[in-house]
Symmetry: C2
DNA sequence: CATGCTGGTGAACCATGGTTCATTCCTTGT
DNA sequence: ACAAGGAATGAACCATGGTTCACCAGCATG
């Protein structure tokens, strides 16, 4: 025996892996998953194409991992807000604002996660992502219904509507011209939030600090 | 000169063209645009692959045409309702119901039109389709606002929300289990319509007869 | 029916882009 | 230093599927 993986090597391997994932993620946020080509990833990561296959069994596996990492961050953020202690309406508004606000600010990446045409393997991953979103919305709605803040509605359907309305209005083909989004993203976000609340039967409830462009951190 | 197209030939050509389009449309409604392969289209239409190129300059051109024909029918239907004489709220409800109802019944085809991952060329076509939808919604909302039926809102954003909410709730990855859609599509449609109206700030106007709802847990 | 065309054919062609693998480069333990 | 691996390489390979093109078939004219 003349070789055993040492810590230093393990670290280097981990670095390379990270580098590959980062390169792929960068490509996604520049040009969507369509721009992820193995040769490009390799070039960007500074390795040979063959090397990619020492770390990921296929392009699909690599893309899945990228999708997961990126979407996990988004979902974690929303889940945290949703699990807070405030009133359901308060949390709901915050979640909607955060979701919409982040989407409008990181449009390219959000587009990739939410709307970009991609093939079935990745669509699966997206499906999970969206479902989780919807579950967060549904949970909040249910909370609000349980304690009488909201009227009774079918939370699953309402949640699906919300999960569809936001991306479409913000980053889909129907999104307002981008210059408007750039000039006054907060107004657009508020308008969308209002729509979603109204749809859920919440009459601009808890009209808290809804006054002026209050921005949720991006 | 020894040849000029005669009527009989012209008719045959038109038939072949139709046959090709029909074959392609059938493939779409079976397996989406992803299932449209030139060899398959040719087989189904009973012609050789080369023949396809005598009628359409490329696969893209063929798919565009199919997309247009199918979507034109849908849009025409909605546009007709929207241009009626009734109150705006009445027309809006009808349009929403028609849109949602048709989508839930012809789910495969609607999915292809509204949500299937497809490449950029066709996405353009879809973009037009969706935009037209949104314009119909926006027009109705505006009508209602102008004559005081509805509150003042940003009709463009609301329209985009509607256009996103319906497909997502019905046929996207967030759609309720299909058995529920199959069992009680009307209930689901009504729930979605309710959401959209609420989002637009319309308090269940012109409510047809939809008193009993039940909350289903996620 | 001969001629001149157009319509039709489908196997070959080609572009794209993911994947492989023989080879080379490094790292480790003796 | 050197042998014995593992790690990295990247050009070749291959699969997919759209497109072409040399050739054949059939219809319209004189």
């Amino acid at each position: 025996m003349a070789y055993r993986k040492t810590d230093k090597v393990a670290a280097r391997l981990a670095d390379t892996r990270r580098g590959i994932l980062d390169a792929a993620r960068d490509l996604v946020s520049e040009g969507g998953f369509a721009a992820v080509q193995m040769t490009e990833v390799a070039k960007k990561a500074g390795v040979a194409t063959g090397t990619l296959y020492r770390y990921f069994s296929s392009k699909e596996a690599l893309c899945r991992q990228v999708f997961r990492e990126v979407s996990a961050r988004e979902m974690g953020m929303l889940a945290e807000i949703a699990s807070g202690e405030e009133a359901a309406s308060e949390r709901l508004v915050k979640v909607l604002r955060t979701f919409a606000g982040r989407a409008v600010r990181g449009r390219r990446l959000s587009y990739a996660l939410l709307a970009e045409p991609l093939d079935v393997n990745l669509a699966e991953e997206r499906s999970f992502f969206r479902r989780t979103h919807a579950e967060i919305f549904a949970g909040l709605l249910e909370d609000g219904i349980d304690n009488g803040e909201f009227p009774e509605i079918d939370v699953r359907i309402a949640a699906a509507c919300i999960a569809g309305a936001i991306p479409t209005a913000l980053i889909g083909p129907l999104a307002p011209e981008s210059h408007e989004l750039d000039n006054n993203p907060d107004r657009v976000v508020e308008e969308i939030v209002k729509f979603c609340l109204g749809g859920a039967g919440i009459a601009l409830a808890a009209g808290k600090s809804n006054t002026r462009e209050r921005r949720t951190t991006a």
